[in-house]
């Protein structure tokens, strides 16, 4: 089930919302959420919902074991078993085809490539389970005694299939003690509507442009055309994914949960390190906490771990070499920035740091887009201008100009809202101003959100199938 669909919004969510608020007690509400989450997952994965429950059961039992035998060897066995099985499932479902293909290519053999369909959201709920196991082992959280409460955490449908990766500690207390206020529901609804709008109004229409130029052979695409399209693709990924996160956070809040932010206006960064502190925060913080600081190479070795983290970050995004290159590409720049040092970089001209970081990020999204290495090669030749010399590609062309004119307001709007304008407005209306200003802001926000919901719903009529990019992870 896709968030940005009329079916989800106006049938599934409407029913769940009513059922949730008809129930008076928290345990009843939790039961509603568990059932809703399993139905939500089973709707897309009628078979693999069993694996989700199995994964929950396994990690729940192991965590209980860890709690009981923490100081003993058996505790470590439980940690190893849980993480080992979690990773094994992830490897089987997500990477087995990729691994076999590469073994075949390397050894020139013909092992049949397994055709396994990856259960949606496996990367997300597996990482949540791993974080829970490690947190239990480190005594950051207490193992949950009740299975259904742990199942609720792992399967909670707002964040189940495309994140953010919610730590157990974030909602541990709210599973049993959450007070849902009108403000929570109102703010959550607004946040979710903004997320839907980001996806439906901005991301989908940006992708239409991207697909026009990147959707087929790009060997003859002009220099400006390549830059134009990859810039729009970067914006598309941001609005698509952050839109999903907004919906997840918003829905969570409507049900009384407060998830952590997953994006913090990444395009205002001045370095690659800062970009990753603002982009997919739940993933980068996962790798920071559970991999980067781990003594994997005998003792914490900063640089080896750094490249391991970025290898895994790339790999997490997909079973394809371009994702691994994409991860390591960022790893290299973060390594260089680490060598230079934050203090020195802060002294750099702010315009230059913005230009530097944006160029690296935008080219990075080109690597992210092209899973086909031939097309990726053309991308580099085009974006560097080399194909103008070697292949006679044009500097610009009429299609780009035409596309820009036909989408100029959309693009300007997308760039504007990728900057922290909304937080500034929120600060003005809801924090800085007096009650009158607050009232004006709140009424205005309500009207805007209703308008966005109606516009998005109308646009959704034209999108019979409309999945989010991060569903494939």
């Amino acid at each position: 089930m896709v968030f940005s669909s009329l079916y989800f919004l106006y049938l599934f969510l409407a029913v769940v919302f009513v059922a949730y608020y008809v129930c008076r007690t928290l345990p009843q509400k939790n039961v509603v959420l568990i059932i809703a989450s399993l139905v939500f997952y089973a709707w897309g994965e009628p078979v693999w919902v069993v694996m989700l429950v199995f994964s929950a059961l396994l990690n729940w039992l192991c965590a209980l074991g860890i709690g009981k035998y923490r100081e003993k060897t058996l505790g470590k066995v439980f940690v190893g078993a849980a993480i080992g099985i979690d990773l094994l499932l992830l490897i089987i479902f997500k990477y087995s085809g990729f691994i076999v293909e590469n073994i075949n290519a390397l050894l020139h053999i013909g092992i049949p490539v397994p055709q396994i369909v990856m259960p949606i959201g496996i990367s997300f709920f597996t990482f949540q389970a791993i974080s829970y196991i490690m947190d239990c082992y480190w005594e950051t959280v207490e193992p949950q005694k009740k299975f259904h409460k742990f199942l609720l955490y792992l399967s909670l449908f707002p964040q189940l299939v495309a994140g953010p990766i919610v730590r157990y500690s974030v909602i541990e207390n709210e599973i049993d003690n959450r007070k849902i206020t009108a403000l929570d529901i109102s703010e959550g609804a607004m946040r979710a509507i903004i997320g839907v709008s980001k996806k439906v109004i901005i991301a989908n229409n940006l992708y239409a442009v991207v697909d026009q130029f990147f959707g087929s052979d790009i060997s003859n695409l002009s220099f400006l055309g390549t830059w134009y399209t990859v810039i729009l693709y970067s914006l598309y990924v941001y609005f698509d994914f952050s839109g999903y996160s907004d919906i997840a956070i918003g829905l969570g809040r409507m049900f009384g949960f407060h998830f952590n932010e997953n994006f913090n206006y990444p395009f205002i960064c001045k370095s690659i390190s800062e970009f990753w502190q603002r982009w997919h925060i739940s993933l980068s913080s996962f790798f920071r906490d559970y991999l980067f600081y781990m003594p994997i190479f005998g003792r914490p070795r900063k640089y080896l771990n750094l490249f391991l983290v970025w290898f895994c970050t790339g790999m997490w995004h997909g079973a394809s070499w371009n994702f691994i290159i994409w991860g390591l590409y960022f790893g290299v720049f973060i390594f260089i920035e680490t060598l230079i040092g934050k203090k020195r970089m802060k002294k750099w001209n702010i315009v230059l740091t913005h230009i530097y970081s944006k160029i690296i990020i935008i080219i990075g999204f080109g690597i992210f887009y092209f899973t086909d290495f031939g097309q990726l090669g053309h991308f580099f030749l085009n974006i560097s201008g080399i194909s103008m010399l070697t292949n006679g590609n044009a500097f610009g062309d009429i299609l780009i100009w035409n596309s820009l004119l036909n989408n100029i307001w959309l693009i300007i709007f997308a760039i504007a809202v990728s900057m922290p304008i909304v937080p500034k407005l929120k600060h003005f209306f809801f924090e800085w101003g007096n009650n009158t200003v607050y009232a004006v802001g709140k009424v205005g926000a309500t009207v805007i959100c209703c308008a966005l919901l109606i516009i998005s719903s109308i646009l959704l009529v034209d999108n019979t199938n409309n999945p989010f990019l991060y569903f494939r992870f």
Binding site: F8, L405, N406, K442, S457, T464, N465, N466
Partner: protein, 496 residues
């Protein structure tokens, strides 16, 4: 007393002042809570209002914009359930059959029209045009191979630029409805494979499919084989219609559309000597100032077909009547398929008049309709009424699928068979005065063996009439199938 009387008023005034003052000094939490409640009192009715609207109102079953039947509620099977297809199809059904779907779709297109700047010489590009001029042209540059009915009417075909394509919608979408259903479906040969440009000329919008080029090898081979099989006893004609982009593409976009004339010449040069190639590119080019192509549709106008038929009649040396002898009929407010292909609200807002011409002997002709296997279904008129203006092209025989035999009042013993795509639908009416019988069969649906059919029905002239995308695209593969399929069967004409 006065003092006593004043006191309550003073108190009230003081209280009023406090109330006024209180709003700005109320505890912020109370204000937040209060406005959160107000906000919810607005948002919840909007949300549940939409929910109820979608749930309660009658669901759409057909999209006139997209020219397709909408998804139906899936039948349950364990196989479908465990594969996830059943649940996915339910979601597709719900999303696809929104009440007043076409109206909302139009509203969506209008909203998207706000994304850009609109100039007098504006051109909107849809799809993925590839520069084709001065590049090597081969089969790889030709348009989509999609041609069979089940591939023709998908939601995606009408929705360029989607993030992901919907398999389920394609499966759910159905094919041509009969003339009574008034659903004019897309033809498989017309895709947005090399893109569409929407140009504004003299105050009107015109959508142009760009031509990606192609060799037409399958077309040439099939026609040569058919000609050989017929052993010279039947005169074979090849008449390929150009797309409107041949004549109306702005110079600045000319590199994105290949020369169709060159393509036709190349095909003609490779056809056997016995086959007569009817060049209609040149005569149509002499009438570009007239309305020979529909601006909002992927077809030519009946007037364009008239000039093509005139050229054919000249090549076939048969009688041909001047346009002045025809009865002119008009269907106003026609908006064709290009609206759905481009999603451009300008097309929707700039309808045209669909003009067609009935020959003077139309009342003395009878059209006999057969299914695709040539089982007789009934007789009627060649020209049909259409309810919805957007289905105006269905005026000819009610659509593509059926095999049609027209008996005219001409008694010259001449029989013509037209193997065509939908471009060919507009041709037969102009030849009612030239042939005693005219058979019309669509290359995509015709099931009998073509050679047997031609021979057993004593056809004299066999005309292949189709648009260039059919000749160089996947539809051409059907021609060889027509020649080889169901060989040796007796063709039984059950018509009275």
């Amino acid at each position: 007393m006065e003092d006593n009387e004043k006191k309550p008023q003073q108190k009230q005034a003081v209280r009023g002042k406090h109330v006024k003052k209180d709003f700005n000094h109320m505890k912020r939490k109370n204000v937040e809570h209060g406005f959160a409640v107000i906000s919810l009192m607005v948002m919840i009715p909007v949300f549940f209002g939409i929910s109820l609207f979608l749930f309660v109102f009658p669901r759409s079953t057909v999209s006139n914009i997209e020219k397709r039947k909408l998804a139906t509620f899936p039948e349950f099977s364990f196989e479908d359930y465990f594969s996830g297809k059943f649940t996915a199809d339910i979601a597709t059904y719900y999303d696809d059959t929104v009440p007043f779907r076409d109206d909302f779709k139009t509203a969506g297109y209008n909203f998207k029209g706000l994304f850009g700047i609109h100039t007098e010489e504006e051109v909107k590009v849809v799809g993925k045009p590839i520069a084709v001029v001065n590049k090597d042209k081969d089969e790889s540059s030709k348009p989509s191979e999609a041609s069979k009915p089940e591939q023709q009417t998908s939601a995606n075909a009408a929705d360029p630029g989607k993030p992901q394509e919907s398999e389920t919608a394609s499966e759910a979408a159905s094919q041509t409805e009969s003339s009574s259903g008034e659903v004019q479906t897309f033809d498989g040969e017309y895709t947005v494979e090399n893109g569409i440009i929407v140009v504004k000329e003299e105050g009107h919008y015109r959508a142009l499919e760009l031509f990606g080029g192609g060799t037409g090898n399958a077309y040439v081979n099939a026609l040569n084989n058919i000609n050989k099989d017929l052993g010279g006893k039947v005169q074979v004609y090849s008449m390929i219609a150009p797309l409107a982009s041949e004549y109306y593409t702005p110079t600045s976009y000319s590199e994105y559309t290949a020369s169709q004339k060159e393509c036709f010449d190349s095909i003609a040069s490779r056809l056997d000597d016995g086959i007569i190639s009817v060049d209609i590119d040149t005569p149509l080019g002499q009438h570009v100032t007239e309305d020979i192509y529909l601006r909002t549709d992927h077809h030519w106008t009946p007037l364009g077909a008239y000039y093509a038929a005139q050229t054919f009649a000249s090549a076939a040396k048969v009688d041909f009547k001047d346009l002045s002898t025809y009865k002119k009929e008009e269907i106003p407010d026609f908006v064709g398929t290009m609206y759905a292909f481009t999603g451009d609200a300008n097309i929707k807002n700039d309808p045209e008049v669909f003009t067609y011409y009935k020959p003077d002997n139309v009342d003395s002709t009878r059209a006999y309709y057969y299914d695709t296997a040539f089982n007789y279904e009934g007789d009627g008129n060649f020209f049909n009424g259409v309810g919805d203006p957007s289905s105006a092209y269905l005026v000819f025989m009610g659509g593509d699928e059926q095999i049609v035999k027209v008996k005219t009042n001409v008694k010259n013993g001449k029989r013509l068979m037209i193997v065509k795509d939908s471009y060919g639908n507009a041709i037969p009416g102009y030849l009612f005065g030239a042939y005693e019988e005219i058979y019309v069969a669509d290359m995509r649906y015709f099931q009998p063996n073509l050679i047997d059919f031609v021979q057993q029905n004593k056809v004299n002239d066999l005309l292949f009439a189709m648009v260039v995308y059919s000749a160089v695209g996947g539809n051409a593969d059907n021609l060889e199938t027509l020649r080889t399929q169901n060989k040796g069967q007796t063709i039984v004409d059950a018509a009275p």
